[in-house]
């Protein structure tokens, strides 16, 4: 399941939050919301046009419900980005349910000659996090501490 070719629908939008950055993420499916939320995180960190897909990284996350799963998933990606320098732009899931996921993230390692980090995200917060289905579509919201 790959979603990078998906263009017809807005993946996410940001919303106003005085101290931090909020994102509202859209998807036709539950998986798409998880993929698009991850995309939004890296889109905020760097210009993804300059990121190639030359490596894949396997990720496993567990939680008690979809909201926590979303926060843990994004936190995992943030940790990998900060400590290993990974920049991911595409995400596929071999398993995803309410409380666990197994994913593969595709991208490359930060290269200062080609990449620029636009901003720092300190953490993915639990504040007003939401994952829900609405009129046959999926939507999530999450706030980054920046």
């Amino acid at each position: 399941m790959k979603f990078s070719s998906l263009n017809w629908m807005k993946r996410y939008e940001t919303f106003e939050h005085t101290a931090d950055l909020g994102i509202r993420v859209f998807g036709r499916t539950y998986e798409e919301v998880f993929a698009n939320a991850a995309y939004a995180l890296f889109d905020f960190l760097t210009n993804l046009d300059n990121v190639r897909e030359s490596l894949s990284y396997k990720i496993q996350v567990e939680a008690v419900d979809p909201e926590e799963l979303l926060v843990r998933w994004l936190s995992e990606l943030l940790f990998l980005s900060e400590t290993r320098g990974y920049l991911f732009k595409d995400f596929s899931f071999s398993h995803l349910n309410q409380t666990s996921l197994q994913a593969e993230a595709h991208g490359e390692t930060f290269d200062p000659s080609r990449h620029k980090l636009k901003a720092e995200v300190k953490a993915v917060t639990y504040h007003q996090v939401e994952v829900k289905e609405k009129d046959g579509r999926w939507e999530a919201r999450v706030i980054f501490d920046i």
Binding site: E16, T18, A19, R72, T83, A119, I143
Partner: protein
Amino acid sequence: MSGQEKIHLEKIDEYRWRIPRTGKMRVDGIIYADERLLKDIHEDESPKQVANVAHLPGIQKYSLAMPDIHWGYGFPIGGVAAFDWREGVISPGGVGYDINCGTRLLGTNLSTQGLREKIRGLVNALYQNIPSGVGSKGALRLSTQELRQVLKQGSAWAVKNGYGWPEDVDFTEDRGCMEGADPGVISERALERGMPQLGTLGSGNHFLEVGFVEEIYDPEVASIFGLQKDQVTVLIHSGSRGLGYQVCDDFLKKMGERVRQLGLELPDRQLACDFIRSSTGQDYFSGMACAANYAWANRQMLMHWTREVFERFLQMGPKELGMRLVYDVCHNIAKREFHAVEGELREVCVHRKGATRAFPPGHPAVPEAYRSVGQPVLIPGDMGRYSFVLRGTEGAMQETFGSTCHGAGRVQSRTQAKKASKGRSLHRELEDRGIFVMAASRETLAEEAPEAYKDVSQVVEVVHRAGISRRVAKLRPWGVVKG
């Protein structure tokens, strides 16, 4: 945000507003603000957050908010709350991700006159020599063993390793080392994030600023703090970097589990907490203390390099320069302190999230040299206007668990600020006002534009008039390094 319930505020007096206890709130909320600031405060959800904090077990007297309050996650930024040490809770969201984010102020023997021709070069040299910006890494390569020592010892570790002078420690809150730090509770992940970042300023609202004393309000106190008009100063604002963020994140997860086990009903998930006496509560306290110590070592190193750059660039010796640490305060922390509650001295855990300790004259935690006048309180403003030095008061002890405001507080979101600065040269605008800025990123500079913040003098006016701290001096920015 639309569709949020509006919180009713009752006016107590010109500077105090009560949120009456309703529903499951355990105490009233009190917000320190004047009519002008209240307008901005009502724009966001922060009064609701003050009310939310009042739901937590063991809260004492009031859920408080300082005039620089704005919407945080869980606790509002600018929030102060104390919990009974035996019966109450501790909450990572009541401290924030950037544990012991704080400010330190250095004095110098220089006057503005002597530096006028050199300020631009000096700021450039500071920018070149002090690691800053997104994802910045320090020059230091520590082993895990050494990092654990940093976490245990804080500023003392830095001084022992040649970063600064022994007397710096005397002029740091808690002498730059929080008790109870146990590196054993720190995750591998936190160590991994913190390892390469020690000795870095970071990005966002963190900065290093050369400025000068523009105005003295209280000459007697200013002279005891070693401040005089036109004196060149340095203000450093940074925290515990990725190590602190990860400690907070780790414990929010653990405490989220505990909240479910305990069946605690919380109005917001980010308020996750546990009883202080529980093992998770104790572990968080020990982990938070480690992050606090990391932050103190970090600011100590940043200050040391600042002194070195001044010495090299101005070709002056340390004695001649006299770059003495005036004080270092933290403004994201939970502390074990004693405060008067219902006529008795009670052991409490004071959470200050975007709030500064403001201990009064005579308090044993105030450095001896300042004890007759009270603890220095450092309130950075935006980079275009001014910052303030205040002192702690008995009023703060009686009303706010020895706490006051911490800064300006944002009025514009980062996106709004960026939009507002489109097509403008902020560098030029600031230079026209006599302020030279070196920033690692244009975006950060735009996000941090002066008008994105409240006028800090209004915030300071409220705490001064309410008597929870008193104005001592005003500092003017001159050369700014932004991450």
